[in-house]
Symmetry: C2
Subunit: 369 residues, 2 copies
C-alpha cells in the first residue's frame, strides 16, 4: 500500500477544539479508539486521549512505548504521549483545573464514567457525535484508501463470477471473496461478507450458510474490504440460471430506486431526502412494506458511521462525506434484492467508489467442467 | 459441525436470578450480546434481555422476528420474545413495578444508562461481572466447541510447518493459518492471528507485516479459531534455521515456566497463584522485567473473559473454567518467545485443549523446491 498518499492528522486536534464552545466544554476525554486514531494516528488497542484547550495528551501502556510516539510524529499530531499502567488516574491529573470535561457518552461505559466521576472534580458533560461528525468528511488520503478498498472488491467479485452457478455454497463464495480481498492487499473484509441465496436473500443480514445455490436463486452479495483500517461497502444481486418474472421485476425497481437516490446525492441536500427518493420509487411500485431498512449510512473507519441516510434525517450532506445508497426489496420465503454503491459527496453531485456493473442480473453461464 | 452436542441454555436464567440477592437487585437488564447469547441462545446483533424475578423477555427488532423465537425454543430458554423498533421503551414497560434494576455497568454506554434513567422509576444499580462470572464455567457442549476450535488450530499449524523457512512473510503465514482454520470448518479466527518474527517477536501484540523471515529469526505464532462463536487460543514459538544461544535459553525458560504453571492449575487454587508460579521461574532466571504481561485469561465466547490469570487475583479456579497459561520473554530489538496452552480446570488438575508439540524449536528444514 506504499503507493497511497500518507495519512496525516495535522490540524484535526484544532478542529476538535473548535467544537468545544458549542458543546460547552473546555476539555474532551476521547475513549473511542477510532476517534483517537483519526485525531492522532495512533493505532493501538488501548489508549485514552485528553484534548485540552491548549495541548493534548495520549495515554497508553508500555506495549506501545515505541509505537505511540512514532505514530503521532509520523501523522503530524500535536500531542504528547504518556506511558502508564493507570490511564484514568494519569489522565485525571491533567484535568485538575478543568471546569467541564466532555466524555463521549455513547463510546464510554457507565462503569468508566463512574470512574471518571470519582477521579476528577470537573462537571462531566455527555458529548455525542463530536469527533464522529468531523470524521464523516474524508480527506484525499482517506478517500484513496476507501477507493482502493472498493476497487479490490470490484476485482474480486469479477473473479468470483464463475462461482455463480448451481452447487456453489454461500460459504464457499463468501470465503472466496474474503480470500480474494486479502490476496489483493486488503487487511481483511470490512465486515462479515453476506452471500444470501434463495429464501435467505429475504433476510438483509443473513450470514453465509452451507446452502448450495439452485436454479432460479436470487443471490445477494454484500461485501467490503479494509485498507489501512478504512472500509468499503457494496452490494450486488444476481440470479442463478433463468430469473423468474418476480426476480426481474424487483431487481429493476431496486436498481431504478438506487440510481435515483445516487442521482440526488449532492452537497447541501438533506440525508433523509435520499431515503425519501429511493423509498418513494419502491413504494409507488407496490413494495414499500418490503423495504424495511434505512437507505444507507456513512462509511470510513467504522462500517456504519455518520451521516445516517434514513427517513427524517435533516443533516445536510457535505462534500467529502462517503455514504452508501442501498435500497432493497425482500420477499419472505421467496428471495430478495439489494443494490448498493458507496459514493463520495461532491459540490455538484457524487462520485461512486464502487464500480462493479449492476447488469446482467444473470451472469453468463460458465462452461461446465 | 452437526456432530457436536447441541448447545442448551436450560437453567441459566435461574442461575442469573440466584445472583439477584447478592447484587441487591430484583431485575437485570442484559445488554451484552454474548451474555444474551449465553442466557438465551439468541445470536442476533441487536437485542436486550430483561430478566425479572419470575419471567424474562428478549426484545429485538423485526429482522429477527423468525430467528429469535426459533433460537430460544431450540436452546430451551424460558423467555418470551417481543419484536419492537423501540427496545428501551418497550423494555422499560416491563420494569414498571421494579425497585432496583441492575445494568451491566461495563457493558452499557453512559448514553444508554442515561436513557434508562429517564425511562424507568427504579433505582439503577451498576452490576459488574454477574453473567460473565457464570459464563466462565463451561458445560460439555461448550467445551466440545472449544476443543474442536483448538484441534483445528493444531492441525492447521502442523500443515503450516513447511512455511517456517527463510522468505515466508509474516502476513503469508497468518493468511495461510486463517484460511486453513476456515477450510477445517471454523467460522474464522478467534482474533487477528499473530505471526511476529525477528525484532517483531519482542512485541507481544505485533500485527502481521510484510517482513520476510531470515535465518535465525524467532517467530511467535499466536492463533485461535472460532467454532459456533466459541474460541480457542494457543501460542508457539519457532526459530528459522539455527537458533542462537539466547533463543534456546529463553525458549527453555518460558517452556519450563509454562509447564510449571499448567501443572499448578487445579480447582480451588487462586488464579493469581498460576501467575506467581510462572513469573517466579522467569524472574529467577533473570528475565522478570522482560515478562511484561499477565500470565493468562479465561476464554469462551470472548477471547478475554474471566478469570484473569494475573498477579494478585484471588479468584478461586473452578472446575469447567477454561484459561490460558502463556508466559513470555521479550527482548527489544532482538526477539521474543511465548508459549501458551488453553486448559480446562478440573477437580484434580487440568486438561489441555491445545496439543501442538512445543518441540522442536526449529522445525526440520523442508526440502528446497
Amino acid at each position: 500500500m506504499s503507493d497511497l498518499p500518507p495519512l496525516t492528522v495535522a490540524g484535526r486536534l484544532d478542529r476538535v477544539r473548535a467544537c468545544f464552545a458549542r458543546a460547552e466544554i473546555d476539555s474532551l476525554v476521547v475513549t473511542d479508539l477510532h476517534n483517537i486514531r483519526w485525531a492522532t494516528g495512533f493505532t493501538g488497542s488501548f489508549g485514552l486521549l485528553v484534548v485540552g484547550e491548549h495541548h493534548s495528551t495520549l495515554f497508553t501502556d508500555s506495549r506501545y512505548a515505541e509505537q505511540a510516539p512514532a505514530q503521532l510524529a509520523a501523522a503530524g499530531a500535536d500531542a504528547d504521549v504518556v506511558i502508564t499502567a493507570a490511564i484514568v488516574a494519569e489522565g485525571a491529573k491533567g484535568l485538575a483545573r478543568v471546569d467541564r470535561a466532555g466524555l463521549e457518552a455513547d463510546r464510554i461505559s457507565w462503569a468508566d464514567q463512574q470512574r471518571w466521576s470519582e477521579a476528577i472534580n470537573a462537571t462531566l458533560v455527555a458529548t455525542q457525535a463530536l469527533i464522529t461528525e468531523l470524521r464523516s468528511v474524508k480527506d484525499d488520503a482517506e478517500l484513496a484508501r476507501m477507493q482502493r478498498a472498493a476497487a479490490i472488491v470490484d476485482e474480486t467479485l469479477a473473479e468470483a463470477t464463475p462461482m455463480l452457478r448451481v452447487g456453489t455454497t454461500e460459504r464457499d463464495l463468501a470465503r472466496f471473496l474474503e480470500d480474494g480481498m486479502r490476496a489483493r492487499g486488503a487487511s481483511g473484509p470490512a465486515y462479515e461478507t453476506i452471500c444470501a441465496s434463495g429464501p435467505n436473500a429475504a433476510r438483509p443480514h443473513a450470514r453465509p450458510s452451507e446452502r448450495a445455490f439452485i436454479d432460479g436463486d436470487m443471490v445477494v452479495i454484500d461485501a467490503g474490504a479494509m485498507v489501512d483500517a478504512y472500509r468499503s461497502d457494496m452490494t450486488r444481486t444476481f440470479v442463478i440460471g433463468a430469473p423468474s418474472e418476480t426476480a426481474v421485476e424487483i431487481h429493476e425497481i431496486a436498481t431504478a430506486a438506487q440510481a435515483a437516490g445516487v442521482a440526488a446525492v449532492r452537497a447541501g441536500v438533506e440525508a433523509g431526502e435520499i431515503d425519501r427518493i429511493c423509498r418513494s420509487i419502491i413504494t409507488d411500485a407496490g413494495y414499500g412494506p418490503q423495504f424495511g431498512h434505512g437507505t444507507g449510512h456513512g462509511v470510513g473507519l467504522d462500517i456504519h458511521e455518520l451521516p445516517s441516510v434514513r427517513s427524517g434525517n435533516t443533516a445536510i450532506l457535505q462534500p467529502g462525506q462517503v455514504i452508501t445508497v442501498e435500497p432493497g426489496i425482500y420477499l419472505p420465503g421467496v428471495g430478495g434484492v439489494r443494490v448498493e454503491d458507496m459514493v463520495v459527496v461532491t459540490d455538484d453531485g457524487c462520485r461512486s467508489l464502487t464500480r462493479y456493473p449492476k447488469e446482467p442480473l444473470c451472469p453468463p453461464s460458465p462452461p461446465t467442467i
